[in-house]
Symmetry: C2
Subunit: 428 residues, 2 copies
């Protein structure tokens, strides 16, 4: 049995940032919208091509590739004690409409490159190392965020729901999965569940999606907790009618009810007086959506987050009260107010925080402890494994839009810290 | 030369309301959405089928059918002095998404039935009678209301614009027209223009699209003026970003700017303190439209109407000022504020008002003078011909939704009044 070469071999840690950048650029071309925007929706043709691209890179890195029945992809490097629980790392490659090419991607391509770095350095892992590409971190198609990691973490509610879940074209989740080559035999998706203890650690590398590291000139963010996201679907129903003929006092305009609620969300979030409370109306749709027709229905989707679960739930309660009051005032019906999800926050594991910090120190990289305001697959991996995250700076904190950017240097630093972190974790 | 049989033959005026209702029901099946809703968009497959249905009925009524190069359809019954300008009547059969089966339809199928009524009565017209089915009264596909009548009335601005007009799928107006069998040879659509004086009168039969006739138990509305419609397209551009990571003070949310403007439209309309002023935001779209993405762009279409053009234009000015103030306050860009149209109101011709009134009296039908708050092809026909309109009651004033309804009795009354009116006008 070999002693692991880390940390003695660390001086030879070299990230092939040119190849990695080329991979990031190539992956961004699997998109349903023109560059520089990226749109990659779960199980679309472009998603299937991008998955093939990832599996190919995993193969080239010498990893053994496995996929589960909803398309979570695993690339395994067997350690010299392969019976031990593996150390895993990974992220997602799906991209919301008109977004950018770094969110998620850096944590998948960067993880494969971290494996290459360790292999080039001569390192041999004790625990096996696994790179995971999670299915559908983004809720775009089926309204479910972190679908892959949530199911992997054993959500029986999700397993049941997926049998009846359809997208907005009324295509079922199962049909969509089958069209991409998954969910082939079974209806039962519980095969995706992983037991607690399947991994000794999970680490995710990700762009910060916020401005702090860039503003403060710090290379590495060590995530201590992930803010708790909740999302709400709201529908109002009014009377509609002709935009010319129905006089103002006779109107019950579902669109104006939606507009009022959108502004109420902002108001209630600001009332919390905490910088950590955020709320967003990213979806607001009117029916029938014609210039000369009073909206008879409106549909909103609201995202609220906080690092304090109670404070967040208080905002949700106020939003509900506003929705009821607006419906009452305008004589429209609040036909739906549904929590799409309401997840608890997650804390990083102390040993992983320490491993990331010491890797940063070893590499002489400035680092700071911070909170993740965005959710990540790590939020759900925390349910079955000790969890940690590594953030790198990104341009102006931009994310979910084409201007999203992280520099080669910052990406290379992130990959090095990730490589050292998983190497260290693999020894325990 | 025969003397016209009207009014001697009037006792034999019989509307075949069962056939007419059957036609209304059949026409409603040419729809892109399920019954009871009707969706019939310009030049769609269903529109082409519906046009065939209308031409067939015109043929069965013994009318000579002609179509112009954008698909306005004309069915002519030659008078015994065919060199005189004809008396025309008609309306539209396109239907906005998820609307009903009476708006426009009653004025097309009812006009053909009015011809049948006159033919059965033995009446012979002096001036020729023409039934017109106008192309695209609704602005659904190309954002242009009363497209057919507007062009027929000689709008050179429209003729030019149509060469560059595209729908939201980027299909050009000309390609769409060609796919429906129109605009085949020429790029130049000025062949559609009709000279002032081409008709001695134009009369349109239409459901009221308002509650007054039903509430007051009156059978016939005699329209004296059509309210002046204006529509505005507005776009805001913000910074977008991730719904979790961008903190509230750093946001420039284009969606909330749109929500505020929608509420400002309502406010400014109500400030006019006139019951005749209306304003509607029927279209409000967010980009990218994802639950976890702050809207980076928003698009609104606003419809404002009034019987007083200055008062309406004052509301538009206030909406502009609000849009500028909202953009300033939220740090978003008001990237578009464009008048899509801003048409002057139209007055009915005294002689046509008189003809409709005397026909109603002759038939012992209660009637009242009223204003049309909705626009109609009549608004544009007024530019080239003396114009008048006949309204019939409709259920609760509903229109532009599936619940739109007019009773057989009211429709039959409207057809009789229309038949007598055009018969009378054809003698002068
Ligand atoms: Mn994302
Ligand atoms: Mn992500
Ligand atoms: Mn209409
Ligand atoms: Mn109409």
């Amino acid at each position: 049995i070999h002693e692991p070469h880390f940390p003695n071999a660390v001086s030879s840690l070299s990230v092939d940032i040119h190849s990695l950048q080329k991979q990031i650029d190539e992956l961004s071309t699997f998109s349903d919208t023109p560059a520089p925007s990226v749109t990659r929706i779960l199980y679309s043709d472009k998603d299937v091509l991008a998955r093939r691209y990832i599996k190919n890179l995993m193969g080239l890195a010498g990893l053994t590739v496995r996929e589960d029945s909803i398309g979570n992809i695993f690339g395994r490097w067997d350690g010299y004690e392969p019976e031990l629980a593996a150390v895993s790392t990974g992220s997602h490659i799906d991209a919301i409409p008109y977004s950018g090419k770094y969110d998620g991607i850096v944590g998948v391509l960067g993880a494969i490159e971290a494996i290459n770095v360790l292999k080039r350095s001569g390192f041999k892992p004790k625990r096996s190392l696994e790179v995971i590409m999670f299915t559908s971190e983004e809720p775009t198609r089926f309204g479910i965020s972190c679908l892959g990691s949530r199911l992997m973490a054993g959500s029986e509610a999700l397993e049941k729901a997926l049998k009846k879940t359809v997208d907005n074209q009324n295509i079922s989740f199962l049909d969509a999965a089958r069209s991409a080559g998954y969910a082939k035999v079974e209806e039962d998706l519980s095969s995706v569940f992983l037991k607690k203890g399947s991994y000794s650690a999970f680490v995710e590398l990700h762009i910060e999606q916020g401005p702090i590291l860039e503003e403060e000139g710090i290379s590495i963010g060590v995530v201590t907790a992930i803010a708790a996201p909740a999302s709400i679907k709201v529908e109002f129903e009014g009377n509609g009618g002709h935009a010319g003929a129905v006089l103002m006092p006779n109107r019950h305009d579902a669109g104006l009810a939606a507009a009022e609620l959108a502004l109420a969300v902002e108001k209630h979030v600001l009332e919390s007086q905490s910088i950590d409370t955020v709320g967003t109306v990213g979806i607001l749709e009117l029916h029938p959506g014609a210039i000369n027709s009073i909206p008879s229905k409106s549909h909103l989707e609201i995202d609220t987050r906080d690092i304090d679960e109670n404070r967040r739930n208080n905002v949700i309660e106020k939003i509900l009260q506003s929705a009821l009051a607006i419906a009452e005032k305008r004589g429209v019906k609040l036909s739906e107010f549904k929590m799409l999800n309401q997840d608890p926050p997650a804390l990083s594991d102390e040993s992983i925080i320490n491993a990331v910090e010491s890797a940063s120190q070893y590499l002489n990289l400035g680092h700071k402890l911070m909170i993740s305001r965005a959710y990540h697959d790590s939020l759900f991996m925390a349910r079955i494994s000790p969890m940690g995250m590594i953030f790198i700076p990104c341009y102006k904190g931009f994310s979910h839009k084409p201007e999203e950017f992280a520099s080669k240097e910052d990406i290379a630093n992130g990959v090095k810290v990730l490589a050292l972190t998983v190497a260290k974790l693999s020894r325990y």
